[in-house]
């Protein structure tokens, strides 16, 4: 009990330190999502804490993702006018994005000869963690591995998104936001906000829609990939 409590405190402290480092350095590769886990893992190993003991405390924080997902109703509500106005463009591009995300993860994983449980854990990697973990469990993947793939996806998208926008001459603000939100969930959305508020709004919307669409398409596409 005491260890679990200590683990929660340690997690919060390392997160605060990581955020501070990120703010001071302004180097996007030093995202809190890399620094905090590295700090925390070193502490856990040095103090000789067992991972299962850590997880008893850590789970409390992971659980907070549930009200956070409910909280997405607020940006969705605020941007409902944008959603309505561009509904066709958004639905078509997001559906193709969600299908391509599932299929391409599966196809590339096949090509590099990954085992099925790793492959299944990779499929939902482009949506926000809480939902990705749920989808992973539903289709037979390993949710904690999926969480790690989601984080790596976020870091990839942060670096590659702006390069792709430039290389393929994406000029529409809506398209920039949708691409970042679909490809790299919350991390992409934070990048989109750097482009501008309109891009940011589109990306938040894309993040929510990506989650919902992947939830719908995952059970349909997974059996096709496993054929």
């Amino acid at each position: 009990m005491l260890v679990s409590f200590l683990c929660i405190i340690m997690t919060i402290v390392s997160y605060i330190i990581a955020k501070f480092i990120y703010k001071k350095s302004k180097i996007f590769i030093l995202t809190p999502l890399i620094i905090a886990p590295v700090l925390l893992s070193s502490c856990i190993i040095l103090l000789g804490i067992d991972y299962t003991d850590y997880d008893k405390g850590g789970r409390w924080l992971t659980n907070m993702l549930q009200p956070a997902v409910v909280g997405f109703a607020v940006p969705l509500y605020k941007y409902r006018a944008v959603l309505k106005k561009h509904m066709r463009v958004i639905l078509v591009s997001m559906s193709s994005g969600a299908i391509v995300a599932l299929a391409s993860s599966g196809i590339y994983a096949h090509l590099v000869h990954l085992k099925n449980d790793y492959l299944l854990s990779l499929l939902p990697r482009s949506v926000t963690t809480p939902i990705a973990m749920v989808i992973s469990a539903d289709i037979g993947g390993v949710p904690t591995m999926t969480a790690i793939f989601v984080i790596v996806t976020g870091i990839c998208g942060l670096i590659l998104g702006p390069i792709i926008i430039r290389f393929f001459h994406i000029r529409e603000k809506l398209a920039k936001g949708l691409l970042l939100g679909m490809g790299a969930h919350g991390a992409g959305t934070s990048k989109a906000l750097e482009f501008g508020t309109e891009e940011g709004a589109a990306a938040s919307l894309a993040m929510v829609l990506a989650a919902v669409l992947t939830l719908i398409f995952a059970p349909i596409i997974t059996p096709l990939i496993l054929l």
Binding site: I44, Q66, P67, V69, A73, G97, A109, A206
Partner: protein, 122 residues
């Protein structure tokens, strides 16, 4: 201090919706996670003005802005998979990078083409 208290209450309200969503999901055997159902219920409440957005806005934006914190314990979970990362790390990275590039190109180009077409026909 009042602000902290407000955020805590609003987070509790959001959690309550997640719990309702979880209950519905398990009672009705829905394939969707409870928190997503909770999100849709919350959206409906806001849309039909049953709940004013001001009542949950602070809590929601707090959770969304500190969302990375809630990912940290899962990222530490990598400790359990040291062997997998050691053996397959390159493959994982390759799949994730290539797939992210593919997704972004497809989404971006489809959205760009479609919104340009729409402009032309107007």
């Amino acid at each position: 201090m009042i602000k902290v208290f407000k955020i805590l209450i609003q987070v509790a309200v959001l959690y309550f919706f997640a719990i309702i969503g979880n209950l519905l999901s398990s009672i009705l055997h829905l394939p969707i996670s409870g928190s997503i159902i909770g999100m849709f219920i919350m959206f409906a409440m806001l849309y039909f003005k049953i709940l004013p957005v001001s009542k949950i806005e602070m809590g929601a934006s707090f959770l969304l802005s500190e969302m990375l914190l809630f990912f940290v314990p899962s990222a530490v979970g990598i400790l359990q998979y040291k062997e997998a990362v050691f053996n397959y790390g390159t493959q994982f990275l390759l799949v994730i990078c290539l797939s992210t590039i593919t997704v972004m190109i497809v989404t971006g180009i489809v959205a760009e083409r479609f919104s340009r077409q729409k402009e032309r026909y107007r």
